[in-house]
């Protein structure tokens, strides 16, 4: 198996002493890896460092073997990401927002852009300015921008935020399809534990900035009734330390 994400001894601390400490993790091609943890545990910080939005105090992140802070362009060219929340140019239309992204990658024509808009259920709104979009529509557009260039790695921070039930099921199935059929690697964080259970093949638990456990979903479900029980068990175990 080839490693798509290699995180080694990653430390990023804020002035308030929160952040992440000595986080190490590998994710292999075709996996859907879920990062779970309470608010403020360091999930978004991890993703920000992974995508070059932040520089770590120590440690390295490699995407496709390229250090994100040394070889940024090569590390990111096969990656699509939403970190914290999807951002858009509100004064531009959905299709113009997608074109701004698409230009960075070769061979993305208008039919691919339409295809992605269709996939994300936004084709009928493609010429509307994003400022009139609902939260769910903005989330869908964010996902469209993350996948328009057919990335081999998708990093998604709370991808289901703002989506209706239909949208959640759709995104879940799309990610599973991409991972199974196209061997796309997905790295996501979500507080919707049931959806993580249904989507991910492996999960990591981050508590107080430290990666406490990494398990495959099948192993977790052999020992626990649900991912939620496993998560609660890990939190209690950590509290006892």
């Amino acid at each position: 198996m080839d490693k798509v994400i290699e995180i080694n001894g990653l430390t990023k601390l804020y002035k308030n002493a929160r952040g992440i400490t000595d986080l190490s993790l590998d994710v292999e091609r075709g996996e859907i890896f879920g990062l779970l943890g309470p608010n403020g545990s360091g999930k978004t910080t991890t993703m920000k460092v992974m995508t070059g939005l932040m520089k770590p105090n120590a440690g390295t992140v490699k995407l496709f073997g390229h250090d994100i802070h040394i070889d940024f362009e090569k590390a990111m060219v096969r990656t699509g990401a939403i970190v914290e929340s999807p951002e858009h140019y509100l004064y531009m239309t959905a299709i113009d927002n997608l074109r701004q992204t698409a230009r960075y990658y070769p061979d993305i024509n208008n039919s691919r852009i339409d295809e992605v808009l269709e996939l994300c259920g936004l084709i009928q709104f493609k010429n509307e300015k994003v400022k009139g979009f609902s939260l769910g529509m903005k989330q869908r557009l964010g996902i469209a921008m993350a996948i328009v260039h057919k990335p081999e790695l998708i990093i998604l921070d709370e991808p289901l935020n703002g989506l209706d039930v239909e949208g959640m099921i759709y995104v879940r199935n799309m990610l599973k399809h991409l991972a199974e059929q196209d061997k796309v690697t997905v790295f996501l964080s979500s507080h919707l534990i049931h959806d993580v259970e249904l989507t991910c093949t492996r999960v990591g638990i981050v508590l107080q900035g430290k990666l406490r456990a990494v398990e495959s979903m099948s192993d977790i479900l052999k020992s626990f009734d649900s991912l939620e029980n496993y998560f609660v068990n890990e939190v209690e175990k950590n509290a006892a330390i």
Partner: protein, 249 residues
């Protein structure tokens, strides 16, 4: 090269989509017409020649450099560059496969191109209007002088763009930044009345540095002084702005 080119094209597209840039171009157009009406009024009413066809483009450039272009450049750079930090849309660019250095250069170059675009529009318009309303023969020397004046005007405005880009890294509110720039300009202008030597030290008073070239004979010492001053300010603003742009999390 490709990511840089894309970043540049994206910047230009976003600038034009915001409409403010288009409004600025229209206002530049309107200014030339109003200015020409003023010149025509003086010609007819007082029987004086306010500007010949060769002078009119330089007269237009003077007005542009002293008032309109600094104001509009500040507005457009704040509106696009600074507001990206305010509303966090800078994250869109930061997540694309382009290094921050290339992204920063692409942004600055896009604003420089914008100023260049306005200058081209003003040059063409003022030439046409000047020739129609003040018909005198223009020598090759006049044409070269006008072209040089318009081309080199880009340099002090690049320094201004870098200055606003630097300020935008430290002041989050676009409105606050605009008023701070305005206040600084008013205060500096006021102080310069009391201390005229300030004009030799602050770049903002040399936005019309082309006049060094158009005045004959060319003052070499002033040319060296102002050129070094602009380069110095440019280097400082570039370093400060990029340092902050690169470190931003």
């Amino acid at each position: 090269m490709q990511p840089f080119k894309v970043a540049f094209v994206n910047e230009i597209e976003r600038m034009l989509k915001r409409k403010k840039a288009v409004v600025v171009l229209v206002l530049a157009f309107a200014t030339i017409i109003i200015q020409q009406l003023g010149v025509a009024g003086i010609n007819m009413g007082l029987g004086l020649r306010a500007a010949s066809s060769a002078n009119f483009p330089l007269l237009s450039l003077e007005l542009m450099c002293l008032l309109i272009l600094p104001l509009f450049t500040t507005l457009v750079v704040i509106d696009t560059f600074s507001s990206e930090f305010n509303n966090n849309t800078i994250k869109i660019s930061y997540l694309k496969p382009v290094t921050r250095f290339k992204l920063f250069i692409a942004k600055i170059l896009a604003y420089v191109s914008f100023v260049g675009m306005i200058l081209v529009v003003v040059l063409i318009l003022s030439l046409i209007v000047g020739l129609i309303f003040n018909p005198t023969v223009m020598s090759l020397n006049d044409i070269i002088k006008i072209l040089v004046a318009y081309i080199i005007t880009i340099i002090p405005f690049t320094v201004l763009i870098l200055f606003i880009a630097m300020m935008g890294q430290y002041i989050k509110s676009p409105v606050g930044l605009f008023f701070l720039c305005l206040l600084m300009y008013i205060v500096l202008t006021g102080v310069a009345i009391i201390l005229p030597s300030l004009k030799n030290m602050v770049f903002i008073f040399n936005l019309n540095w082309y006049s060094i070239f158009t005045n004959t004979p060319i003052s070499i010492s002033r040319l060296i002084n102002v050129t070094c001053q602009l380069l110095g300010y440019g280097a400082i603003f570039f370093a400060a702005a990029f340092h902050s742009f690169e470190k931003r999390e």
